[in-house]
């Protein structure tokens, strides 16, 4: 069964995000890393990149496939996790400790997502 920690919000496209003030931290779920198999490259966005919720934020490459990761909110990229460039396998080992991007949420945008229970139902577990 996939790990789905409390205290985080989830998307239909298998991102997790954590809201703190005007900032959200984004990563991919345990379910997502398991589906991807071994992750070998992460194409991280540059600081300052502006994204709408649902737009492609970055791409993750695994041995088997390349999958897009979507922005859960409207906002501007503040920072990408530099450790993932050299150690992308961290995403397989501990997807919740391995954040990918920090986003400054656009003014007036209210983040929307699924609760852990809703996400578990969404992935059919």
């Amino acid at each position: 069964m996939s790990l789905i920690p409390d205290g985080l919000m989830y998307t239909k496209t298998h991102e997790w995000f954590k809201v703190s003030g005007t900032e959200v931290i984004v990563g991919i779920t345990d379910y997502a890393q398991h589906q991807l198999t071994d992750i070998v490259y992460v194409d991280l966005p540059k600081a300052g990149t502006v994204k709408k919720a649902g737009e492609v934020l970055l791409t993750v490459e695994s041995v088997k496939s390349a999958e897009d990761v979507y922005s859960p909110v409207d906002g501007t990229v503040k920072e990408s996790n530099p450790a993932l460039a050299d150690k992308p396998e961290q995403l397989n080992q501990d997807p919740y400790a391995s954040w990918m991007v920090k986003i400054r949420v656009s003014e007036g945008y209210k983040p929307k997502g699924m609760t852990p229970a809703e996400y578990r139902k969404h992935i059919g577990e």
Binding site: H34, T37, D38, E61, V63, K64, A66
Partner: protein
């Protein structure tokens, strides 16, 4: 979905199961990369029971297969296996197979799972004037591949001898094997990883016992079962074709860089058409010089013009780089030639290699 006899073994070991051409098969147990390196440095086992097993039997069995394949069968001896491919009327490959000479009048053809029925129908269609029968034993036969440099050691502990490459021998089992007609399993020094290794071709009733025995021996050397994910990355590093992906009735053996199978001096199905094809393309390997992974369909460019297309791509655990297999115009196919591969809209630098990218 179809399942092999070993399905429960995979599920109870925690394998991630996926749909592989209608078969519910393990893609990985823990990690494709780890399983890949286990096979390169130690040994690992694969359930490949989904592959077909077609028995060709009768006084004309050899003549029939020599009529069907570009490979000389009449020069083979009992206990020998050969890699070959069925060609269609256009000289293009329907499927690649291994042919085993079980006895003088009894041959086994092992096609791929997804193309087994096509191969069977193709053989039935051409069998008419030959005195031989065709029996599809696929539902009764399991196949376990043990691959990796420690294969001899694992077999020694099981008291089973290791045949020379592309040869096979028999070992005693407790149930009847409808390939041999007696209580003998087949152990064949063949595989799809480029490592030393064997394949056990056995009745379903023997599969769980042999699988568990192998798991026990592998645990001693810190290894275990491997999924189809690692099987795919292992074969790509060595440049082995995948039927249905690297060719699909659109490529002949010369352009697919397996002209070594053309040892048949006589006439065979597809011969004339194949000789007339003279494709300008050739199957090659491509090693990325930038951080990117080519995928099926990625286009290959030289000086801005398209010169080829990727048919298989992955990340090579041994090279630590993206790699691809595909077809490129002969003018651009020399080893070391620099090309660009288009990956999700970006051009990435790559170098042409022979299909075998990992020595």
């Amino acid at each position: 979905m179809m399942r092999t006899t070993l399905y429960e073994e995979h599920v109870s070991a925690g394998a991630k199961m996926v749909d592989f051409h209608g078969w519910e098969m393990p893609i990985e147990y823990s990690s494709i990369m780890k399983e890949h390196m286990n096979v390169r440095t130690k040994a690992g086992i694969f359930d490949v029971s989904h592959m077909g097993d077609i028995l060709v039997e009768g006084p004309d069995a050899v003549a029939f297969l020599e009529h069907m394949l570009p490979t000389s069968i009449s020069t083979m001896n009992m206990g020998e296996a050969a890699y070959s491919a069925f060609l269609d009327d256009n000289g293009c490959m329907i499927d690649d197979v291994i042919v085993y000479i079980i006895e003088g009048q009894k041959l086994l053809v092992v096609p791929n799972a997804a193309t087994k029925d096509t191969v069977m129908n193709w053989m039935v269609k051409h069998r008419e004037n030959f005195r031989c029968t065709l029996k599809d034993l696929s539902d009764q036969i399991s196949c376990i591949a043990l691959q990796g440099p420690e294969t001899p050691e694992v077999l020694r502990k099981m008291n089973i001898g290791l045949p020379d490459s592309f040869k096979f021998s028999f070992f005693r089992i407790n149930s009847t094997n409808n390939i041999t007609g007696d209580s003998r399993g087949i152990i064949s020094a063949t595989g799809y990883t480029g490592e030393r290794g064997v394949e056990f071709i056995i009745p379903n009733t023997e599969a769980v016992g042999i699988w568990r025995q192998l798991i026990k021996e592998l645990a001693v050397i810190g290894s275990g079962p491997c999924g189809l994910g690692a099987r795919d990355t292992l074969r790509m590093e060595k440049g082995f074709l995948l039927s249905g992906q690297d060719f699909n009735r659109d490529r002949d053996p010369v352009e697919a860089s397996i002209s070594f199978i053309m040892t048949n001096q006589g006439d065979f199905i597809g011969k004339g058409a194949m000789e007339r094809r003279k494709s300008d393309n050739i199957f090659r390997g491509f090693i990325l010089e930038e951080r990117g992974i080519p995928r099926t369909g990625s286009r290959i460019f030289s000086d801005g013009s398209q010169v080829g297309e990727v048919t298989s791509g992955t990340f090579s655990p041994v090279l630590g780089k993206g790699i691809a297999l595909g077809y490129i115009s002969r003018n651009h196919s020399s080893k070391g030639k620099k090309v660009d591969i288009e990956i999700r809209g970006k051009m990435m630098k790559a170098v042409v290699s022979r299909p075998k990218m990992v020595p």
